[in-house]
């Protein structure tokens, strides 16, 4: 036999070598080959090969595959060691620990607050058990290609839904708008808002009854009241069967007591439910006239879909049912599900088109970013500190740590820190929640006992820890032992690149937030600076909510008020100065385009309205008692004049079917009635005494508001003895128009401040490390004659560069977002270039301030101290 024949099949060796643990390979292969030699001497090559194959296969088992255990310390010992080292590091570098833990805690608090806020927003109306089945019937009307969607509908529409489409709807209920009612029990009077509703509505809302039943409104003389209202009216007495006098015109009996609706319910404000039939029998409210009138839309319609019906299918069925009955234009019905009421409150072409959901997204993104900023700080500080810990890594590796152990060590360290931060964050959260609730206008509670709350919080903390620790863990553990221990570790340009990227990210986010916040404020200020068209100071509105107020002769009341000396003038109008409730569509004039359906807001006012309000007549004249013909006249605003396209509107006739013509006596300057962000509505002010709903009083500027009110209160008490003197200030009502935007701006400011704070905190830490790292260089430079200023320049240069890059990225990003945000406002500010410059300069100044503390300290240090030791 030749020598070659004694070589066993190679591929089997190759196969086994893949499989076999390296420390066993020598003996295993030796054994196999020796035996092969023995066998090949005894038998044929084929037989030997076959047996060799069997032998090889017989080795394929777990105990061969299993790699040699590395020196494995007992797990708990090692963990204790990690913990000790982590704590020692924290205590030794107090500044960095504070920056790390504090920064992370701030980031966590922000994320938690935003999380709670989002949760609250998303859970709106979920209190109602029929949440998924309830919808409001929205009415979209299209004129001149422009659609307006309203929540008010006509009575026959509700009746048709109830009768013809009964197989789709469990309940259909007509509900009046929310009004403030004066409730009187004996001498006690309380003003609370409530609705007149058909009997099914409380059942639909699933009110949690404490006493009585939800169906009680079947008896028109009943009322359902909230627990808090019952306490206010009856104290601890059993309210059932008690009589309440409503607005001094009707008496109702308490037939049910329900748990107060939570703040995140659409019906939070509604404290009492009154019977629809009672309203009809007491004051009518136009219900009888509207029974068959499809164009009389003045009531809210709510439906509850049958179990298992699909809202879209039903919506398609009922979409056009109103169309055949209406006189003009197009009408479409939209079933607007309860789940969308709060977050999707804007409509476009009769479809839901966003709304508050935008803010949910906006804050969600901000929350993620703020948390990210905090994590970036953590990463940056850890990697910057890596040089200090490089020796530790080297020694650990030299005495047998494998990479996975080091990764484990650093990850557990960062998870530990994130847990410390969590404890701090929960404390912060507990302290800050009341303030946050105030600013955000919420009633958020932390459900400390809820398992899901803790699951989310803990999961989130571990995730933060892992996220924040991942980069340092993988980076630090990759150091080469020998290089590190020799001290030859050169952290080159590449190593600092990620850190630079992270700093740039941080500042991009911060600068974007600064610019965005400034623009939000600018927009609010822009709208606030918009000329209102009248003087809001000392203007008081009184809602005529009792028959006594209606019945008091106008001139008598006016003279009584003027007699007090506290009132400059008084007038009445159909609507408050800050809202429109009636829109005329049938007005025509000479030369009107017949296809145009003009939408004109209309107010019924008295002679003294202009004087009381202080409007400015641009053309023509104000209403005057000297001209008896004024009874049939009208004053329009500039927007209306523009809409009508009349060169000289004064003296023109406006006609409306079924009504006498009205002559335009004057044109007033535009006034803001609805939203200050929208174009001014074209308006008609008709001289009409009998449609008044509000009394408007201009207080005399010579007296303080308090004094003036004290003087006029007796007048109202006398004419309206059954009720409290209840009034609102027009300037306050007007300020309400800004509350949503202001709330957003306030929240945005807080988050922006925090994100800048976090970014600076990180920068502060980084700067101190840089200074420390270059301490020898600084010493040498100083010895060679460098000035403190030039050293400061040297150390600051890098950071200034990073912030500048961040600024360049932030400008287009923030421009894009602010611009698209502004698009939703008709009346909007333009984005000024100085905002960008100011934000950039501001960010740069803050950066320099932050790092100068460290760089100046390093630059002014005595070089002997740093150079003495080597």
């Amino acid at each position: 036999m030749s020598k070659e024949d004694h070589i066993p099949p190679r591929w089997l060796d190759w196969l086994l070598e893949r499989f076999c643990a390296p420390h066993l390979w020598e003996e295993v292969q030796g054994d196999l080959h020796e035996r092969y030699q023995l066998r090949s001497k005894r038998t044929s090559k084929q037989k030997a090969d076959w047996l060799y194959f069997r032998d090889t296969i017989s080795y394929l088992r777990v105990s061969i595959f299993k790699r040699k255990d590395s020196l494995k310390p007992i797990l708990t010992d090692m963990l204790r060691n990690y913990l000790t080292i982590a704590l020692r590091n924290l205590i030794r570098n107090k500044t960095y620990s504070v920056i790390n833990i504090g920064g992370l805690a701030v980031g966590m608090v922000v994320a938690m607050l935003i999380g709670l806020w989002i949760y609250d927003e998303l859970s709106y109306d979920t209190y109602h058990p029929n949440y998924v089945h309830i919808a409001q019937v929205m009415d979209t009307r299209t004129f001149n290609g422009e659609s307006t969607t309203s929540d008010l509908g006509a009575i026959p529409l509700a009746n048709e839904l109830r009768t013809k489409y009964a197989n789709h709807f469990e309940h259909v209920s007509l509900v009046w708008k929310n009004y403030t009612h004066v409730l009187a029990v004996g001498d006690k009077k309380v003003a609370q808002s409530g609705v007149w509703t058909q009997p099914e509505f409380p059942e639909m809302l699933g009110l949690h009854m404490i006493k009585g039943s939800r169906g009680a409104l079947k008896d028109p003389s009943s009322v359902l009241i909230t627990n808090s209202l019952s306490k206010a009216l009856f104290g601890e007495k059993d309210p059932l069967g008690q009589i309440i006098r409503i607005d001094n015109m009707a008496e109702v009996k308490v037939a049910g007591l329900f748990e107060d609706l939570p703040k995140n319910s659409t019906f939070y404000e509604t404290k009492l439910f009154l019977a629809w039939d009672k309203a009809v029998s007491t004051f009518g409210g136009g219900v009888k006239e509207a029974q068959a009138d499809w164009d009389y839309r003045n009531w809210r319609i709510f439906v509850q879909l049958k179990e298992g019906t699909d809202i879209h299918t039903v919506n398609n069925i009922v979409k056009h049912i109103a169309q055949p009955h209406i006189k003009e234009g197009k009408e479409e019905i939209l079933l607007y599900p309860m789940s969308q009421w709060h977050l999707y409150n804007q409509f476009e072409n009769g479809q839901v088109a966003g709304g508050r959901i935008q803010f949910v997204w906006m804050f969600g993104i901000i929350g993620v970013f703020v948390l990210l900023l905090a994590c970036i700080n953590f990463m940056n500080l850890s990697t910057a500190r890596s040089e200090k810990r490089a020796k530790e890594v080297g020694i650990r590796k030299a005495i047998g740590s494998v990479r996975t152990q080091l990764i484990g060590q650093f990850l557990s360290e960062s998870v530990l820190i994130s847990f410390l931060a969590l404890v701090l964050a929960l404390a912060f959260l507990w302290i800050s929640l009341p303030f946050f609730n105030q600013i955000a206008h919420k009633e958020i509670h932390i459900t400390w006992a809820s398992i899901s709350f803790w699951t989310i919080i803990l999961g989130f903390t571990v995730l933060t820890g892992l996220l924040a620790g991942s980069y340092p863990a993988f980076y630090l553990s990759s150091f080469e032992t020998i290089k590190v221990l020799k001290g030859a570790l050169q952290i080159g340009r590449l190593a600092t690149l990620p850190r630079k990227v992270l700093v740039v990210t941080q500042f991009t986010v911060s600068v974007t937030l600064i610019i965005g916040t400034i623009i939000v404020y600018q927009q609010i200020q822009f709208a606030k600076n918009r000329p209102v068209g009248y003087n809001r100071e000392g203007l008081v509105l009184i809602h005529m909510n009792t028959p006594e107020l209606y019945d008091t002769p106008y001139n008598f009341l006016r003279s009584q008020l003027l007699l007090t000396g506290a009132v400059k003038d008084m007038a009445r109008s159909s609507d408050p100065t800050t809202d429109i409730s009636y829109i005329e569509k049938n007005i025509s004039w000479k030369g009107k385009d017949p296809s145009l359906v003009p939408l004109l807001g209309s107010f019924a006012v008295t002679h003294d309205y202009g004087n009381t309000l202080g409007w400015q007549i641009k053309e023509g004249r104000d209403f005057s008692r000297e001209f008896p013909t004024d009874t049939g006249s009208v004053i329009i605003n500039e927007a209306a004049a523009k809409l009508m396209g009349l060169k000289h509107p004064v003296g023109e006739h406006l006609s409306s079917p079924g009504q006498p013509d009205r002559i335009i006596t004057g044109v007033v300057k535009d006034m803001i009635v609805t939203s200050p962000y929208q174009k001014t509505m074209p308006m008609l002010y008709m001289l009409e005494y009998k449609w008044s709903n509000f009394i408007m009083v201009r207080l005399s500027p010579s007296l303080s508001v308090h004094e003036a009110l004290e003087r006029i209160e007796p007048v109202f008490k006398k004419i309206n003895p059954g009720s409290e003197f209840d009034y609102t200030f027009v300037d306050e009502e007007y300020a309400h128009k800004f509350s949503d935007e202001e709330r957003i701006a306030n929240l945005a400011t807080i988050f922006t401040t925090l994100s800048i704070f976090l970014s600076c905190l990180g920068l502060f830490g980084l700067a101190s490390f840089m200074a420390e790292q270059r301490i020898k260089e600084i010493g040498v430079r100083k010895v060679l004659g460098a000035s403190v200023f030039s050293l400061w320049q040297l150390l600051s240069k890098d950071f200034v560069l990073l912030v500048s890059v961040a600024f360049l990225i932030a400008v287009p990003v923030s421009w894009y977002f602010s611009n698209s945000w502004l698009q939703q406002y008709e009346y909007r500010t333009s984005i000024a270039w100085w905002v960008f410059i100011a934000s950039g300069t501001g960010a740069l100044l803050i950066t320099l301030l932050t790092i100068s503390f460290q760089t100046l300290k390093a630059a002014s240090r005595n070089p002997i101290k740093s150079l003495r030791t080597e």
Partner: protein, 113 residues
């Protein structure tokens, strides 16, 4: 973990180690067993048994010298430990006691030629 109990194959491998000491390693043990039993015994099976015996503390091992047939690789030589010795003796004692208690004619006669 009670790993003192011995499998039949382990017992016979352990015994063979004792027989072949000081030159007991996988190949010779396998060859010996093949010669004694007449069945093919793979090196892998012997190796596995030796690993298990070592885990149980019944044998010790150290690396021996390299030989040419092994392509210059060293072999792992096994010796029976005190514990191994005790186990072997126990097993033998149990068997002996049992054999002695077998009554004459209790086993069917077979031709042992």
């Amino acid at each position: 973990m009670r790993r003192s109990d011995l499998g039949e194959f382990e017992e016979i491998v352990l015994l063979t180690v004792a027989v072949l000491t000081p030159n007991a390693y996988s190949v010779v043990i396998a060859e010996e067993l093949e010669a004694q039993t007449g069945h093919t015994v793979t090196t892998g099976a012997v190796h596995a048994a030796l690993q298990r015996l070592e885990d149980k503390g019944l044998v010790n091992s150290q690396m021996g010298e390299a030989t040419a047939e092994r392509g210059g690789r060293r072999k792992r030589l096994f010796t029976v430990t005190v514990a191994g010795s005790r186990v072997l003796h126990e097993v033998q004692a149990v068997r002996d006691r049992l054999w002695q208690r077998i009554l004459p004619n209790a086993l069917p006669k077979i031709d042992l030629a």
